[in-house]
Symmetry: C2
Subunit: 402 residues, 2 copies
């Protein structure tokens, strides 16, 4: 299996640019363009929040009618909670960009991240379109990763290459994280491109499946944003025929794409607001995968568990209590086992004899470890990535305006 | 309608005592006895956490076979996550107390609150039983309210009297709160007694109904304890016949009991760990009460909303986003209205014209206010009490052991 590349690799058929429009802070790049060649396919998944932002609604509608040629992303303003005006503003940006690129308005997808409830300064975006279009180039992935940041502390960009007999495929992606942003919320954006050729139908199934196993398995604080968007583009510029689930190369290709998604998702949790730890909560043995996920999320989102992670405190009672209230079907205490960093704490519902708290406290001092929980006897297993809950989480989210 | 009494009133038929057994801290009262006269009825509701503590399981079983004569409550150790040994220890306390009181073991109910996962020091409790039984008196409600405290900062005791033509009934109750305790979890205990005579069947319906409207409508951090218990005792010592839902006095009596429950529940949130605000989240208009509650809890438990409350930050986008992810049925943006402290912010899904953020910021500086949310057109309304999320919440829950 090939690994992640140490540098970001260009994807044939994709060009990017990033300029400062003064939306977030003066002189900071905050408008990013991602241009996609003709003939490419694209597929996306969006927030499940019912009150999604205007650009999300517009993206869904545009994607239903045409394949995109341009993604326009602004940081600093989420264009959410902006009522009808939000659609008018997002459409204006798409129309102006389409006019300059000589494509249909529906071929431009708008993305916004930042403060919500404030009108999008569409004019500021439109004013920099010519400048940005003039700077489009294949090597601007790292710049784009910076351009979409809000309260993120590091840019997130990962690449991999999948070498097959038919061709070598490149996958590169960027994401921005659950920095809960200006006064607002986790706004996850991810854009991933490959030069493989994949039909839009197969691409849609792929992005849904992989997002479910990566971006939909992370949590910073359980608050689902109005703007979450994840777009996967396949330019088809690599040699060889289109890939389908029946292709010999499909599994290798699919795993390569998942590798980039997983790295981006992991980077988001690692850079969670105030986070000092990256913890994988693995739950196995539930009646259904949904039951395993209920238990995993109850633990991964419990403020009591998360403050204990921050304190390196082997407070396993909080884990047990969270599983107990999770709503997972048919929980029985005598089937519960809990280990932290491989150290068994509870086995078959009873404290493990000879358990030494110091062993777990020592594991928890690390920056990254696993909590493994068995809730039954099935072979099912899920993992959810979470982070701890620190003073800085409160500071970042409480003191923004002060 | 009669009001809450400024002092705690004795309840005929109930005697209390509180002594130090050295479970929590040296020389701090941590074992509380509540003796109930013969012929009284009692009913209770307990945690819905599947992994409830040993004393909770024992209480359920004892209550099913006999009416209680004695409640034995210890602070400092929750006797949760203690496996089979936990039952052995709790039973030993009940047996020894029953022996001294010349009643059946099933007539003693055990309650524990404190650190979980550590063996209950049953001997320490048994050792102070004689001392405590010798000190039982009617006027020790305030002392008992102190004796059951863990990380609570104030004792919680409320009384009311219901004056009817038939009799004057007294209701007095104590509770301890969602201080998340030693290294552990919200452990809510409440004991309420009245001198009215009520059958155990009617009492059970009453305690369930009122607890659902009071204790089950508060949240500090969404973590349901393994030990939550709420007991209502009716001694029957007041003159007059038994009260039933058909009695002329029932409504007045019921309202009086609810007044005490509501005051105790409110006091728990006000004393929530690190809390600086008491906020009522009112949601109306949902298709069902469950839908209203989903939206209310999503807002009341959102870490982003709660950090904004701490910061007096009119961050209504977080409220809108929480409602949007709540899972309430059939949400439509154009039916959503939001006001904070009576100041309209969003109406029919659009920002209210002329809305001035300063007005809301000023309301939020108060120690207590309402967030009112309309999610549809029905006449249904629910209210959930919550508090803010402060640095002290993290400090109390993260730094306990350091």
């Amino acid at each position: 299996m090939s690994e992640l590349s140490p540098v970001s690799l260009p994807v044939a058929g994709v060009r990017l640019a990033c300029v400062a429009a003064g939306i977030r802070k003066a002189d900071r790049p905050d408008v990013t363009l991602i241009e996609i060649c003709e003939g490419a396919t694209a597929a996306a998944v969006f927030t499940r929040n019912v009150f999604c932002a205007a650009p999300v609604t517009l993206c869904r509608s545009h994607l239903a009618s045409a394949m995109p040629r341009l993604l326009v992303i602004n940081a600093g303003n989420a264009n959410a909670g902006t009522g009808e005006q939000g659609f008018v503003d997002a459409r204006a940006v798409c129309r102006e960009a389409a006019h300059r690129l000589h494509c249909a308005t529906e071929q431009v997808l708008p993305f916004s991240t930042g403060v919500i409830g404030q009108r999008l300064p569409a004019e500021k975006i439109i004013d920099v379109l010519d400048l940005a279009l003039g700077q489009l180039n294949q090597d601007a992935w790292d710049a784009a990763a910076r351009g979409i940041m809000t309260t993120d502390t590091v840019p997130k960009c990962f690449s991999t290459q999948i070498v097959t007999e038919a061709a070598t495929y490149t996958v590169t992606g960027i994401s921005k994280g659950a920095g809960m942003i200006k006064p607002d919320m986790a706004t996850m954006l991810a854009f991933i491109a490959t030069d493989a050729r994949v039909s839009d139908t197969h691409l849609q199934a792929l992005v849904r499946d992989i997002a479910d196993r990566t971006f939909n398995r992370i949590t910073i604080d359980g608050d689902t944003s109005t703007n979450d968007s994840c777009v996967l583009v396949a330019t088809g510029c690599a040699p060889g025929p289109a890939l389908t689930p029946d292709s010999a190369q499909w599994t290798a290709f699919r795993n390569g794409v998942e590798r980039v998604f997983a790295a981006l998702a992991r980077a988001i949790v690692r850079d969670g607001e105030g986070a000092t730890k990256l913890v994988s909560v693995k739950v196995s043995g539930g009646l259904t995968e949904a039951d395993c996920l209920r238990a995993a999320y109850a633990v991964a989102e419990s403020p009591l568990v998360k403050t204990a992670l921050f304190a390196n405190d082997p407070n396993w009672g909080r884990i047990l209590a969270a599983v107990g209230r999770s709503g997972a079907t048919d929980l029985r205490l005598h089937e519960i086992s809990i280990a932290v960093g491989g150290v068994p704490i509870v086995a078959q519902g009873e404290p493990v004899p000879g358990y030494d708290e110091a062993d777990v406290a020592s594991v928890m001092k690390g920056a990254e470890y696993e909590i493994t929980i068995t809730i039954g006897t099935s072979a099912l297993e899920v993992a959810v990535l979470t982070c701890d809950f620190s003073y800085d989480y409160v500071r970042i989210n409480a003191e923004y305006r002060s």
